[in-house]
């Protein structure tokens, strides 16, 4: 926190001056002056600095449109095996605001231009200084495609990943802010981020650290900054998450490159990642701050499959004449050894994304930029209206409002710009046989000639009871010992229903080697109500994160895993209830009889039964009736006699 304390001092100075001014001027004047500042700032941002017309007329002028701190780029990179990486990048900045240290002055930041309206209040309400949100799905094939875009710093594990730097007077307060933050983001992005609670949250120690040049400001010198992180591996990423993403952009997907962002196409891909990073940046001298936000949408599509799907939504078998057969092998009307996919490629991105780019963004200081990263044997042209243009560096500025399209063609699509090789391949799998215990096995492969240093971050749910002592190393190199690989371990043990197991290990993977680290765990039983509605699906274990520190900064993630816990048959409780009730009923009956009835010997009982049983009663009744009848029969005789 020392790093940033000077900012606080500066802010303090600023506050004192503001207070001094407030002494001199009436309060409403102060508000005016702030508003004027904002206006001036807007003008500063505009191109025409010498313009004397008021800002409102600037907005109406079509010759000199107002331009904001907004920038958008589209990078298109063909990958091996006919894949294409499309990376949509949006940068935006908020207006500056003074750090408000008086509680009652809460509306200093009320004017927003290109910066999304909902983000600012969330950040300030929860005292969030840095916010990182990732929605990632699919498998990045690092063997074929090389490094992840942006060295893996902009993509998360499968599902949702969220981490933030939150300012707070204590860890508990920061945690409260974190929960508020998660709930707000949940509503904003239509995702189940609200399921983040303390049992999923960790406070990373050496992973996810902000870089040195992110000077994170501290608004209150009494509080400190907390780095908090959680991930939801079972969150499916879908169109309802993309729509809020696009809505955050000032262009709203109506113009500029964001007009290509159609959920059906973005998610029909082998890998896609949506990311948002918000930073709070404060000026050293003025003490004024602004938010800067980066919003990236990245997707990898298989070009032939996507193009074919545009023509024929169902991938039915090809017609016999469309088959590409290997002529060196037997082929005729009945058999065909298929050739690999064609290397000749000729497509427009409008066919991949379903529509064309609707002109420029109209807002940014710099025009929307489309860049294709291809070697010389590719022809990339931008199509504006009916005209095709090329440039030397394959980068195009979108200036006009005409629909734009980008055309790619090459005779050898296998020749692509060689991306840097991943410094480390990480994979992780569950091992083991039964339902009560299991193992976790992580495989690290270092393909390079130099040792790789990394921090391996794992956050495991509390119902996996980890045995750290069972940590074992598997390697072909028998000289390698656990101590030479694991340099240090940070371990925060799980607490049932409260805290996950949090493991961070500093590892060194020797050059050109593959090794596996494994440990064992027990699966605990959950309470009846703790199972999710789809209990039989199993529990998703979030991806492990490998933060490589040397030889270069890179982040790699393993895939997420599915853990089976022994799951009760949920119809069983009803059977149990019925059985228990029966047993209880029987027991009660017996007990009640014992208490309420008289104990007799068998003979006594027989004697009483002989007189009181229904049978005896019937017999007595019969006797009575017979007696009655006999009397009736005899009476008339008597009368007759008497007569």
């Amino acid at each position: 926190m020392k790093l940033h304390s000077w900012i606080s001092v500066l802010l303090l100075v600023y506050k004192v001056t503001a207070e001094l001014e407030a002494d001199v001027f009436p309060v409403d004047n102060e508000v005016d002056s702030i508003q004027q500042e904002v206006i001036q700032e807007t003008r500063k941002n505009g191109t025409d600095e010498s313009s004397s017309v008021p800002p409102s007329s600037e907005l109406l002028s079509l010759e000199d449109p107002v331009q904001y701190n907004f920038q958008e780029n589209l990078n298109l990179t063909p990958l091996p095996n006919n894949f294409l990486l499309a990376s949509f990048q949006f940068y935006m900045q908020s207006e500056t605001f003074g750090v408000n240290r008086n509680e009652h002055e809460s509306n200093v930041y009320s004017h927003h231009t290109v910066f999304p309206k909902p983000v600012g209040p969330i950040m300030s309400q929860t005292n969030t200084r840095q916010l990182h949100l990732r929605f990632t799905h699919g498998l990045w094939d690092s063997q074929e495609w090389g490094q992840l875009p942006h060295s893996g710093l902009k993509s998360g594990g499968n599902g949702v990943e969220l981490w933030a730097v939150i300012e707070g007077p204590s860890k508990e307060k920061a945690m409260q802010s974190w929960i508020t933050l998660a709930n707000s983001l949940s509503g904003l992005f239509c995702a189940s981020i609200n399921f983040i609670d303390s049992s999923k949250t960790t406070f990373p120690v050496s992973s996810f650290l902000p870089t040195e040049d992110d000077a994170i400001p501290l608004f209150n010198e009494n509080s400190s900054l907390y780095l908090i992180r959680a991930a939801l591996a079972n969150e499916p990423i879908c169109t309802e998450n993309l729509t809020p993403f696009v809505k955050l952009l000032p262009t709203r997907g109506k113009s500029g490159i964001s007009s290509l962002l159609d959920g059906h196409k973005i998610f029909d891909s082998n890998w896609h990642s949506l990311s948002i990073d918000v930073n709070t940046i404060c000026e050293d001298n003025t003490g004024e701050c602004h938010y800067s936000m980066e919003e990236f949408v990245e997707t990898v599509v298989n070009v032939p499959n996507s193009l074919a799907r545009a023509d024929r939504p169902i991938p039915k078998p090809l017609g016999g004449d469309e088959l590409r057969c290997d002529t060196n092998k037997p082929h005729d009307a009945f058999q065909c050894f298929p050739l690999p996919g064609s290397r000749e490629v000729d497509f427009n991105i409008s066919k991949l994304f379903g529509k064309k780019i609707c002109g420029s963004s109209l807002l940014g200081k710099t025009s929307s930029k489309i860049c294709a990263h291809v070697p010389s044997n590719w022809n990339v042209m931008v199509q504006v209206g009916d005209l095709l243009f090329t440039t030397d560096d394959n980068c195009f500025n979108v200036n006009s409002n005409e629909p734009h399209d980008v055309h790619f063609e090459t005779s050898d699509s296998g020749n692509v710009l060689i991306s840097k090789e991943t410094p480390l391949h990480v994979s992780r799998a569950l091992t083991g046989y039964g339902q009560d215990r299991g193992g976790l096995r992580s495989v690290f492969r270092n393909p390079s000639n130099q040792p790789v240093e990394l921090v391996y971050f794992e956050s495991l749910p509390w119902f996996m009871r980890v045995y750290l002592s069972s940590l074992a190393l598997e390697s072909d190199d028998s000289d390698l010992t656990l101590d030479s690989v694991v340099k240090s371990t940070f371990y925060s043990p799980a607490r049932d229903r409260e805290r996950p197991t949090h493991l961070e290990r500093k590892l060194v993977i020797p050059p050109n080697s593959t090794l596996a680290l494994s440990f064992q765990f027990d699966k605990s039983l959950l309470k009846y109500a703790e199972y999710p509605p789809d209990a039989n699906h199993g529990f998703e274990i979030e991806a492990a994160v490998a933060t490589i520190t040397s030889p270069e900064r890179y982040e790699a993630r393993s895939s997420s895993l599915l853990l089976y816990l022994s799951t009760p048959d949920f119809s069983m409780p009803y059977n149990v209830i019925i059985l228990t009730s029966t047993v209880m009923g029987l027991a009660f009956g017996t007990l009640f009889n014992l208490i309420s009835k008289q104990l007799l010997t068998l003979e006594e009982a027989d004697r009483i039964l002989a007189s009181t049983s229904p049978k005896a009663k019937l017999l007595r009744l019969k006797g009575k009736i017979i007696g009655l009848l006999k009397r009736n029969n005899t009476k008339p005789a008597k009368i007759a006699k008497s007569e």
């Binding site: 016999g320 058999q335 690999p340 096995r441 495989v443």
Partner: protein, 578 residues
């Protein structure tokens, strides 16, 4: 309670309990007969079984149109021709290397798992574009099938299907192709490695379909379905139902347990009885007899079946066969949760008829009750019933049981090092003859005879009851085969006829002799003494427990009963002689 009271009084008044005790021996036999009778007479008759149904609604078999047809056939033939050439000219190692290249062309990640003992296995993972990579479905095609035929059609089909699947965007589970050397040890070794030591993995495997289509024929007659897992495990009935549903939907006939084509249309008592008994036989011998491949996946929470194309001249073509795994994969892919938990215990009477556990379990329960009654008979129906619990006879019989158990354990282990089935059988024949030989020389005290038997039958009953739910078929068959031992009588006066009768009963109920005789009778592929080698192999290669159940569950009881059949003398006479 009045009703129970009346009943109790009635029982007391007619003296049912003493009558019951005096008839225990006959009642025990009756239990066994009732159990067997129910199984044979009752279960396959109308009204006792149910039509199968799909329990998990998400499966939706055959709801999506299967497109594996038309030009896919050309591609299949293209691959098959190549594989047919490789079969003759190259080793499995080279074939794997070549096939691995084919698979990589359409985006399948491949790796070769090498097992020094059982050969190498090529496997590839197609990562589902829509899935989260945590679950997988396996399609396996061993290079050689259970009969040693080259599985050209099956392997070509698996490769073509993978290529075909890679074009579909619908998958939510990864698809794994496994090409192992054989459907038994080599496939099992891969499955074990997948769950312990493989670096390339694709999540937990939900289902496995083993394809067996030997030769290069384009046509086949009908589909044979194999589903018996190891140690009495069966795949979820839903998977079998889906397979049957899809196969019949495509117009093919399904044969269970190798029933010939001519008997597939029959639906009468005899056909159902036959299928059920064959099912019990296959379940008992699963892993011991020929393995079709689905056994290899058993036990890892993987539902697996084998589809085998039979015949070469029939009306159906190989792509029709391929549409079964296609539609099955589509079904399993629909699963959001797991297969339904209460659908693992069943006996199939026909592809579409089954008996659920509640109905058939009683038969094996009756047999084990027979053993309990026999044990009670040995305790209650003699003049030593009143012996105190801690009397020397009881303690000695428990000790004798421990000795028998130890001896049985040593036998089970020794056989791994000296697999001499003939020696084992002859030893047991000689041991059975021990009472006959010793009849005049050594005698045992009568209470020992009764107590040894009581302990033996009780142990047998405990073993059978514990085995009931785990491995119904084995429990039933073992109970019935071991039952003759309860009919042995304690003899005192060297009666030759009774001694010979005892000898016959003991011989018949010996675990090894009975297994040998029955297996020779029902399973021609395990003729001679091959079954013992197969039992050992099943344990070593697949982890099938049957050998240990025979040795540790059955053999100790038999040893005790054999010993107890030595001529006995009354306590009084023994004292007098002393």
């Amino acid at each position: 309670m009045a009703l129970v009271e009346n009943l109790h009084r009635r029982i007391v008044s007619i003296g049912l309990v003493p009558k019951f005790i005096s008839k225990l021996s006959q009642l025990s036999l009756l239990c066994c007969v009732i159990g067997l009778g129910c199984l044979v007479a009752l279960l396959p008759s109308d009204g006792q079984f149910r039509r199968t149904y799909i329990s998990e609604n998400a499966l939706l078999p055959s709801q999506a149109y299967s497109y594996f047809r038309e030009s896919e056939w050309n591609i299949l033939r293209g691959y098959r021709t190549q594989l047919d050439i490789f079969q003759h000219v190259s080793t499995i190692h080279d074939t794997n290397a070549e096939v691995s290249k084919w698979l990589q062309q359409f985006g399948v990640k491949t790796a070769v798992y090498e097992d020094e003992q059982y050969g190498e296995t090529l496997y590839g993972i197609f990562h589902a574009p829509r899935g989260d990579g945590t679950e997988a479905m396996a399609i396996a095609a061993p290079w050689y099938n259970e009969n040693g035929e080259h599985n050209t059609g099956g392997a070509a089909l698996a490769i073509t299907l993978m290529r075909y699947f890679s074009r579909w965007p619908v998958w939510s589970k990864n698809i794994i192709i496994v090409l192992s050397e054989d459907p038994k040890a080599s496939l099992r070794s891969w499955v074990t490695a997948y769950h312990t030591s493989l670096d390339l993995t694709g999540g937990s495997i939900e289902s496995a379909i083993v394809l067996d289509y030997p030769g290069v024929s384009d046509r086949f007659d009908y589909v044979e379905l194999h589903y018996d897992g190891l140690n009495g495990e069966t795949p979820n009935l839903d998977l079998v139902n889906v397979a049957v549903h899809v196969t019949e939907h495509e117009g093919m006939k399904v044969s269970l347990h190798g029933l010939p084509f001519s008997e597939l249309d029959k639906n009468d008592y005899n056909s159902r009885l036959k299928t059920m008994l064959l099912g019990i036989k296959d379940s008992v011998l699963s892993g011991i007899k020929k393995c079709y491949g689905n056994e290899a996946f058993s036990g890892w929470r993987i539902q697996s079946i084998t589809l085998k194309a039979k015949g070469t001249q029939g009306p159906h073509d190989v792509t029709t066969f391929g549409r079964i795994p296609e539609a099955m994969s589509r079904s399993v892919n629909n699963l959001l949760e797991k297969f339904h938990q209460s659908f693992f215990f069943y006996l199939l009477l026909a592809p579409r008829f089954f008996i659920s556990i509640g109905t058939y379990l009683g038969t094996a329960v009756a047999v084990s009750v027979g053993f309990v009654l026999a044990a009670l008979n040995q305790i209650l129906n003699n003049k030593y019933a009143g012996l105190p619990l801690l009397s020397i006879y009881n303690i000695w019989s428990v000790l004798a049981f421990c000795i028998a158990l130890t001896f049985a354990f040593i036998t089970s282990q020794l056989f791994f090092y000296f697999p001499q089935p003939v020696a084992l059988l002859s030893f047991n024949v000689l041991f059975s003859a021990l009472p006959l030989v010793l009849s005049t020389r050594i005698k045992i005290q009568k209470p020992f005879s009764y107590r040894f038997k009581a302990i033996a039958y009780l142990y047998m009953a405990i073993v059978l009851t514990s085995l009931l739910v785990l491995n119904f078929s084995l429990a039933l068959v073992m109970g019935v085969l071991a039952f003759p031992m309860t009919r042995t009588t304690t003899i005192t006066n060297s009666n030759v006829f009774l001694s010979l009768r005892n000898f016959a009963l003991i011989l018949a109920s010996n675990p090894f002799i009975a297994t040998w005789a029955v297996v020779n009778f029902v399973e021609p592929t395990l003729s001679g003494t091959r079954v013992f080698g197969a039992l050992i192999e099943a344990w070593q290669q697949l982890g099938c427990w049957t050998w240990f159940i025979l040795c540790l569950g059955w053999y100790p009881s038999w040893l005790l009963v054999t010993y107890a059949s030595i001529d006995a003398i009354d306590l009084e006479t023994a004292k007098k002689e002393n």
